[in-house]
């Protein structure tokens, strides 16, 4: 496959490169804004959790950093991530853990003691491919984001976060409903139909009266119960669904020709931001240098009648058993290739 084949398969990946976004997930936030007017005039203080590689922070600066009369922009944007991220003008970066009180305090200090108007989170954990585990870990990430949000968000504020729509998503809806007036499950048109990814838009932050923000114990997802949220019965907590983004816009599932109708002449562009150090980087280097441990070479024929040749099975660079989970989960460029060998596929697997 040529280097432009991903451009054909994925229109938003290509548009992101053309428009200078660090990841195509930028369009998802833009589409969410079209529907929910997230960046209204009242929004002055915004937190971007799990911000790397920074495409949502890019959207926030372009949408909110409007020059005021005295030439200074008004909105303050704080981006938090465990890993370092390339600097973005107008974004205050905190390299920190969202499960720590100190991180919440640091955010508030950048807002001069004022709470945030909007908290967004596009974080996704490393996936294992085991659905129940992935869904659980993603739920815990979302609840950790919710936990820090309860420390920094003003009453009436908005919280937007990525969710996986899996078997137990109604447990998450039930938990979020405790904290917000209105919880909507939103799917931007830039997110593929085939992906289980969606976003919860939680409006009107209104914690229970006796609730005291607490980082020392994690917020857990809830259990099914006999009455309001049944495992198999008709009563379930399901957030209303809303498809976001204009129908006349690009369709993330559609196959487009490289030369778009009425578009500029197609030109291949490299990604705006290369992948961040993946955990398997060293293994990939070893593999390309053919230095992964191999089955111990040939045995030696020593003498007649009793010497040995070892049985060898498979050379190291054989058929990979695993495709990347890209289609299902990935939204960021840095999680595109989960298994390094996916490029070696002789068979193509269209996504």
């Amino acid at each position: 496959m040529g280097r432009s084949s991903k451009d054909k398969r994925d229109i938003y990946y290509r548009l992101a490169k053309e428009e200078g976004w660090r990841a195509r997930s930028a369009f998802k936030l833009l589409h969410l804004d079209e529907e929910f007017n997230l960046f209204n005039d009242g929004v002055k203080r915004v937190v971007d959790l799990c911000a790397a590689p920074g495409s949502w922070s890019q959207v926030l600066t372009r949408k909110l950093r409007r020059p005021t009369d005295n030439g200074k922009s008004d909105a303050k944007i704080v981006a938090v991530d465990l890993q370092a991220m390339a600097p973005l003008p107008g974004v205050i970066q905190i390299q920190g853990d969202i499960t720590k009180v100190s991180t919440a305090e640091s955010i508030i200090s950048h807002f001069e003691g004022e709470p945030a108007d909007l908290v967004v989170c596009d974080g996704a954990p490393d996936v294992t491919g085991l659905h129940d585990i992935d869904e659980y870990i993603q739920a815990q990430l979302l609840l950790a984001a919710l936990n820090i949000t309860t420390h920094v968000l003003k009453n009436g504020g908005t919280f937007v976060a990525k969710i996986f729509r899996g078997k137990d998503v109604s447990l998450l809806y039930a938990q979020l409903r405790l904290f917000f007036d209105k919880v909507t499950c939103a799917k931007p048109r830039s997110s593929r139909n085939s992906s289980i990814e969606a976003f919860v838009v939680c409006e009107g932050y209104d914690p229970p009266e006796d609730y005291i923000p607490n980082m020392s114990n994690p917020l857990l997802d809830m259990d099914y119960d006999l009455y309001s949220n049944q495992l198999e019965g008709p009563n379930r907590v399901i957030a209303p669904f809303l498809a976001c983004g204009d129908l006349s816009g690009y369709d993330s599932d559609k196959t487009y020709p490289l030369q778009l109708e009425g578009g500029k002449e197609y030109k291949y562009l490299p990604p705006t931001q290369g992948p961040i150090n993946p955990p398997y980087k060293h293994a990939c280097e070893l593999k390309s240098a053919s230095q992964l441990a191999k089955e111990d070479g040939l045995g030696h024929v020593v003498a007649a009648s009793s010497s040995q040749i070892s049985t060898n099975v498979v050379s190291t660079c054989s058929e990979p058993a695993v495709l990347s989970d890209e289609d299902r989960l990935s939204t960021q460029i840095n999680t595109v290739s989960i298994t390094p060998q996916s490029n070696d596929f002789s068979k193509t697997n269209d996504v």
Binding site: Y280, E295, Q308, Q341
Partner: protein, 976 residues
């Protein structure tokens, strides 16, 4: 409602206790008894309704044995004897590990936020809970020890390190300080294993490495772990790692997502540890679970449902290779061709460049000159008849000498033929028939008995490499037909007496040639140097290809096929290795690094020998007796998401019920499976693996051509990525006596040359007025396309305009084509591509449609159900009149499911209609569709009747035949 008859889901847990193997698949525990070293299925029991079993352990207390299962937020304890449920516990948090505490009714439970609970399972209550001072989410946890006081919990944190702490120490302190921190991995840790005897901790990580740490966990002192060794060998994430000590040798076995099960051998020095890889088994699936008996046997469980069973001593033993005694090369020449012979004793027949035919008795290690062909030089072809008594040798001058070989190795020259005036290219045997290829494509057929008769002369068609490779005889309609495969890769059919072929399939095996032909019943199987084997049948002077199959990836040179115990084995070469590959398990049964395919070799299971020439040296490799013994305990299915499932047939015979099911997957394969149910057991058998798609297969449509009590004929259309359509004819024989229950014949292929990146998302098919069929395809470029299928060709007839949105589903309804896509609109079109009607049913993508007829306001109307990405199901009542379609009424269930609806099935019933829906939320829901009067207006109503949770993740499709339901996703499940 909905009881499960059969399911295939990932094998997430394995455990071996004494003579039993336990497996966890979804929420179901299965038990196998190990008889004569092999597990035999005993029974299964559904333990968790909602959670997936991720771990199984066993323990005993007061001479009673128990088994503990855990996964998700649930834990259960059963008695081993009778599976009596002693305790079922639901935790607030995810359970990563459970450890029974010796001589007590308690166990320790490790939770995902680095906390630990001491739990009394007799009283079913938590005794106490403790946290580690390092609070974060864990990806794995592993208990070391059996006493609460000195129990160590190793936690694999989100920060890529191991935190070891003691939950039972200093019981007044709620937050425990870690005993040790072990950083070093570049990724999260998925598994840990501690060997107390060696005092080493093994960690397996997302960074594709296994690390061995020297540390002592038993003394409870704070200390530092030392990384003694880093092992890179896997190419994807490593899920499980464990030590296995046999005869004082320390082995490490690791399993990974890349399909490899690696056996490492450690050598321990004072300071560091050295390692080497002893065995890499490639099981071609994501390997999820592992268990060993601690001695020699171990089991591996796969994502595709397969379970393998190995003996460490067997897999690490090397091939016995004998070096033949030398013979005088100066006198007799250099070996050129070898063949295995079963005479009195196993022997090797050898031809040298000086024209000598030698025989080597393997047991006595002795050479004997059998014959000397003084006028034969360094070039010759030699072939031995199947019974081993006739040897034919051909030379450059067109002569063929046929020798008769007696048991005492004496030869008589049976005939000297002057076949051609030029080089003999090849000689092959079929029983007593000999086929000899000469120059210019000449092919002579001789019958060899007490004398030699020239039966017929054939001429192969013009080609660069114009000689035959193998030939056999098929008797049909009292005429002798010869099928022959040539070096050009073509297959020809000759009739006795006619020199040119009556039928040719040109270049079917690629440019490098056909290697062998075999006959099994009425089916002819060919192998070739293109990595494929193909099935053919002969019908009235015509060869028809039925199906084609690939062996393991990388096996590009196939030599032969062998049927053993009704299972098919392929001989061939992968790189520099000779390989025997099993179609049944996908495993390599035997392999030898012989240097590759361009050499003389022979393989015989009767003699248990593989022989090859390397550097003019005869090498003899012993083939183990159990070479065809399969290590597969349970058969696996698809390695990835199944996109579509369809019933091909469902029928009863004797006291059994048979379901034949086709599944299409992201892994590019279509699998046809037979499920045989009788009273308590259900057995699954893979009948066919269709491997014609070069990208994912998205949809299957089935049309019944004919059905009687004994046979059923089906037309099956499959579509998928890379704009591909494949069509098959399938004949199902319902009688159990029939050896081929399902015959698959590939009919036609279509691939779009214009836009290869396009995906074909769904397909509808129907019989057209003239003989052929029509096929409508929903395409990812925003268009619908219509094709005509006639005989073996598929022609594009028409296409619709581009809607700007990817089409997802299509169906044939009342002479119209109905299609819907990611914009939430349903469009009803003619086969010429013009739109008859359009209405919006869902906010975004329509993933599923279903249709039935229903009486509404006293008239017969069409009822259409659409299920969307927006969690909703919409029912639309449609009136069809004179080519026009009109919406009469509709109703919507907004939150029919908690996630996108992916499958629907609608059937008319006495009260209106019955709808079954499936969704990614893993619920199968039954709905009643009825009508009601409201203000003189008739309206539709959709009532929830009940839901059932399923362990199939990413549910993609449902199909229904009478009272049987099949759903697909990550696995598949049949319900009733």
């Amino acid at each position: 409602m909905f009881s499960t008859l059969w399911q295939s889901v990932p094998v997430t847990a394995l455990h071996i206790n004494d003579e039993y193997l336990y497996t966890g698949q979804g929420g179901t525990l299965s038990v196998y008894k190990i008889c004569k070293g092999k597990p035999k299925y005993l029974e299964k029991r559904n333990v968790f309704n909602h959670a997936v079993i991720h771990g199984i352990k066993s323990f005993s207390l007061e001479e009673k044995q128990y088994i503990v299962l855990f996964g998700g937020k649930e834990m259960a304890i059963l008695t081993i004897q009778d599976f009596y449920l002693v305790c079922h516990y639901k935790s607030k948090d995810w359970i990563w590990d459970v450890q029974p505490i010796t001589k007590s009714t308690t166990l320790a439970i490790a939770l995902a936020h680095n906390s630990c609970i001491l739990f009394d399972w007799k009283k079913n209550e938590e005794i106490c809970a403790f946290h580690c001072s390092i609070k974060c989410i864990l990806y794995s946890a592993h208990f070391i020890g059996w006493n609460w006081e000195d129990l160590v919990l190793c936690a694999g944190t989100v920060f890529n390190q191991v935190v070891a702490w003691m939950p039972g120490k200093n019981k007044d302190v709620e937050q425990k300080i870690p005993l040790m921190l072990i950083p070093g991995h570049d990724g999260v840790i998925f598994d840990m294993h501690y060997n107390n005897q060696l005092q080493i901790l093994l960690t397996a990580s997302d960074d594709r490495s296994i690390r061995v740490w020297k540390c002592s966990m038993s003394n409870g002192n704070e200390q530092q772990a030392k990384c003694a060794c880093v092992m890179y060998g896997h190419e994807a994430r490593i899920w499980k790692v464990e030590t296995l000590i046999v005869d004082g040798l320390v082995y490490v076995i690791s399993i990974s997502e890349d399909g490899l099960c690696i056996t490492w051998l450690l050598s321990m020095n004072k300071e560091d540890i050295q390692f080497k890889v002893v065995k890499k088994l490639n099981l071609h699936s994501n390997l999820l679970s592992y268990a060993s008996d601690g001695k020699d046997r171990f089991a591996v469980g796969c994502n595709n449902g397969a379970i393998y069973w190995y003996s460490l001593s067997e897999i690490t033993s090397s091939n016995q290779c004998l070096e033949a005694a030398p013979f005088s090369k100066d006198q007799h020449g250099t070996p050129k061709i070898i063949k295995l012979l079963s005479l009195k004793a196993p022997s090797v027949l050898l031809y040298t460049d000086k024209g000598y035919v030698l025989c080597y008795d393997i047991l006595l290690a002795k050479w004997k000159v059998v014959h000397h062909l003084s006028d034969y030089g360094s070039y010759a072809v030699m072939s031995v008849a199947p019974d081993g008594t006739l040897i034919a040798v051909g030379n450059t001058k067109g002569n063929v000498t046929i020798l008769y070989l007696e048991k005492e190795l004496n030869t008589t020259t049976l005939a000297k033929l002057e076949s051609f005036s030029g080089k003999i290219q090849n000689i092959s045997w079929y029983q007593k028939e000999m086929f000899v290829s000469g120059p210019s494509g000449q092919l002579n057929w001789y019958h060899v008995d007490t004398d030699v008769i020239l039966v017929s002369k054939f001429v192969l068609p013009q080609a660069k490499h114009r000689w035959h490779m193998d030939a056999l005889i098929v008797n049909s309609e009292s005429q002798d037909h010869v099928i022959c495969g040539d070096r050009r890769g073509s297959i020809h059919l000759f009739v006795n007496g006619q020199s040119v072929p009556v039928c040719t399939i040109h270049g079917v095996h690629g440019k490098h040639g056909v290697t062998s032909l075999d006959k099994h019943g009425n089916i002819i199987i060919s192998t070739g140097r293109d990595g494929y084997w193909r099935q053919f049948c002969v019908n009235t002077s015509k060869i028809e290809m039925l199906t084609q199959h690939r062996a393991a990836q990388g096996m590009e040179w196939l030599e032969n096929i062998k049927l053993e115990n009704f299972r098919l084995y392929v001989y061939g070469f992968r790189g520099n290795k000779f390989v025997v590959w099993s179609k049944f398990s996908g495993n390599e049964m035997f392999s030898v690094t012989c240097g590759g395919c361009h050499r003389s070799w022979d393989f015989s299971t009767e003699l248990s020998k593989f022989v090859f020439l390397k550097a003019s040296q005869l090498n003899i490799v012993e083939v183990p007796e159990n070479v065809f013994e399969e290590s597969l305990v349970e058969v696996g299915f698809h390695n990835h998401q199944i996109n579509c499932v369809r019933f091909l047939a469902s029928y009863a015979h004797d006291d059994c019920h048979v379901d034949i099911i086709a599944t299409a997957s992201e892994d590019t394969k279509v699998i046809i499976t037979k499920l045989l149910h009788n009273k308590d057991v259900c057995k699954a058998e893979v009948l066919h693996v269709i491997d014609d798609h070069c990208s994912n297969v998205r949809s299957i449509r089935v049309l019944t051509s004919s059905e009687t009590d004994i046979t059923k004929e089906i037309l099956m259309v499959t579509v998928g990525g890379r704009a591909t359509i494949n069509v098959y004819n399938i004949q199902i024989q319902k009688l159990a006596s029939n050896k081929v229950p399902c015959l698959v014949k590939h009919v036609a292929t279509y691939k779009s040359g214009a836009s290869p990146d396009m995906r074909f998302m769904d397909v509808a098919a129907w019989k057209s007025d003239n003989d052929g069929h029509m096929v409508a395809v929903a395409c990812s470029d925003g268009k619908m396309r219509w094709f005509r299928l006639n005989d073996n060709t598929i022609t594009l007839l028409s296409e619709s305009r581009d809607t700007g949105h990817c089409y997802l589903v299509t169906s044939r309804i009342n002479d119209h084509t109905l299609a819907a896509g990611t914009d939430g609109f349903v469009r009803i079109m003619t086969s010429e591509g013009s739109e008859v009607s359009r209405f919006r049913t869902n906010q975004s993508g329509v993933n599923a449609i279903a249709f039935c007829h229903m009486t509404f306001q006293g008239a017969r109307h069409g009822c259409l159900a659409t299920g969307g990405d927006d969690n909703s199901i919409r029912l639309t009542m449609l009136k069809f009149e004179r080519g026009a379609v009109e919406e009469v009424s509709h109703c919507t269930v907004e939150d029919a499911h908690a996630t996108q609806v992916t499958g629907l099935h609608l059937a008319e019933s006495e009260f209106g209609a019955q709808l079954v829906s499936t969704s990614i939320d893993q619920r199968v829901t039954l709905w009643r569709i009825s009508t009601f009067e409201d203000d003189d207006k008739t309206s539709l109503r959709c009532q929830h009747l009940g839901s059932k949770f399923t362990h199939i993740a990413d549910v993609s499709c449902i199909d229904v035949i009478r009272d049987r339901y099949v759903i697909s996703g990550r696995g598949f499940q049949v319900m009733t």
